[in-house]
């Protein structure tokens, strides 16, 4: 379903991904863990074609994103939903208009069909009574759910989540986790970047730990939790010293990197 092969990416002179390889099967939910700046979001961006690797290959739904035309990329993207950290909703459109946006701009469906799909998507994320509100009028958790509704309204085969529970209270986090699990039960392939361990254990089929630009560990939930790998233990237990404390690949960081890497 999703395959990254020896992907290397250098940003502002810093190697973020170094020969990273991973395969995500159809219907699987993979959680990507790692310290800040290890390239988790960069990996997601490669999967949706927002970034191209300097070397290596990215294949999504059987199509190589590294050797594709704009039309083919659009065709792949139409099957991928992406939930951004803060929802990335357009603040001058209502929640319902935001959710309807991909349908109105690219799918050319009848208005009744669009309305029905928007209604269903909002109901799915329990926002059916908030469609008329503007993004600035609802809470952060609701904005993330609205972002998820927008990601789902095109009925994608893959959903990518970039820190969906960051900054949320435990109850809102649980609502998001429940939604991710509901998607999982429908067979949608999902990749989630998170720092929230509870969330990772609750939704993942497999968990990957990114370190030094590569997948350092990739195991199912139980094996990951019981792993004796020192890096995994350090991450799970939040120890200050250990293999993950060696810093990022080439050391230095700057403002541009902070924009691009998380």
């Amino acid at each position: 379903m999703i395959q990254l092969e020896n992907v290397t990416k250098v940003l502002s002179g810093r190697t973020i991904l170094s020969n990273l390889s991973v395969t995500i099967e159809e219907g699987e939910t993979l959680v990507l863990l790692g310290r800040s700046g290890t390239g988790k979001s960069v990996t997601l961006r490669h999967i949706v074609g927002l970034m191209q690797p300097d070397s290596g290959r990215v294949e999504v739904l059987g199509k190589s994103l590294t050797e594709t035309s704009a039309d083919q990329l659009a065709a792949v993207r139409s099957q991928v939903g992406y939930l951004f950290q803060d929802g990335a909703l357009l603040n001058w459109l209502s929640i319902a208009e935001n959710v309807a946006l991909p349908l109105l701009e690219t799918h050319h469906l009848a208005k009744s069909e669009v309305d029905q799909r928007v209604k269903n998507a909002l109901r799915e994320v329990e926002l059916d009574h908030h469609g008329d509100k503007l993004p600035g009028e609802i809470s952060g958790g609701m904005r993330k759910r609205a972002g998820l509704a927008r990601a789902l309204v095109s009925q994608p085969k893959i959903v990518l989540h970039d820190e969906p529970t960051s900054g949320l209270d435990p109850i809102s986090s649980s609502i998001i986790n429940k939604l991710v699990n509901r998607l999982k039960s429908t067979g949608i392939t999902q990749v989630m970047v998170t720092h929230d361990m509870n969330s990772a254990f609750e939704v993942a089929d497999r968990i990957a730990l990114l370190h030094d630009g590569q997948i350092h560990a990739l195991e199912n939930v139980d094996d990951f939790r019981d792993s004796a790998d020192p890096a995994v233990r350090q991450f799970l237990e939040g120890q200050i010293s250990g293999p993950l404390s060696r810093g990022l690949l080439d050391g230095s960081s700057n403002d541009d990197d902070r924009n691009e890497v998380s």
Binding site: L50, R77, Y82, F84, Q85, A88, L101, E105, D256, N259
Partner: protein, 259 residues
Amino acid sequence: MTGWIEALGHFLGRSAETTGYGLVLLCRTILNLPHLFTRRRMRDCLNLIFTYTLGSFTVTAVVALFTGMILALNGGDSLASLGQENLIGRIVAISMIREMGPFMTALILTASLGSGIAAEIGTMKVSEEIDALEIMSISPVKFLVLPRLIALTLVTPVMTIFAAFIGILGASIVAANNFGVTWIAFSNDALENLQLGDVQIGLIKSVVFGITIATVGSTQGLLTRGGATGVGEAARRAVVITFLLVIILGYYLSWWYLS
């Protein structure tokens, strides 16, 4: 010394890159022009025309009124010493329509709308909204830049005509009150000496300035990096670059017209 040369090299490289990006963006927007004729884009465009006109109406009126009055006061003072105060009408009308109207309106719209476009698109860029559009296969050029470019290209000439009219009105008040030039004498002198070419070059300038304001604002917005600081920097750059371009383009358009 080496550091200074390196910094200059960086600056020139970045300026060339930004200029190239802006020109490509303008070309891509023009190529997307057929998409304007859809109900959604047309609605976006009309909303922006309404917002831009309303947002710059008052400040344009006040600045134009006082600019016209200042022109009449200074011009009238010099002409009165030669006993030629009856010529105030033609001087004010020609300068307001050919030069001051387009130039002044462009500066007002740059400060109020150009910086706003850069800040708005820049905020969308840093909050990943532009990425979200791209993932949904919605072109930011078609969705954001095209309606803004068209709206500003239409609003700028309209506001220029309005500014010229208000400026001439302000000048006529000063001419009557300070120099005893009647409204009839003022308007006769203005209309007799104003040529169609003066109006044409004023409108051409305003269209060029409108395109410049929208393109620079959008370019700076789309190139924004670095959070809130980056958004502020994008707005500042948009204003500075547009001011410079308006002055330079204004000079060359005047030179072209007069030669």
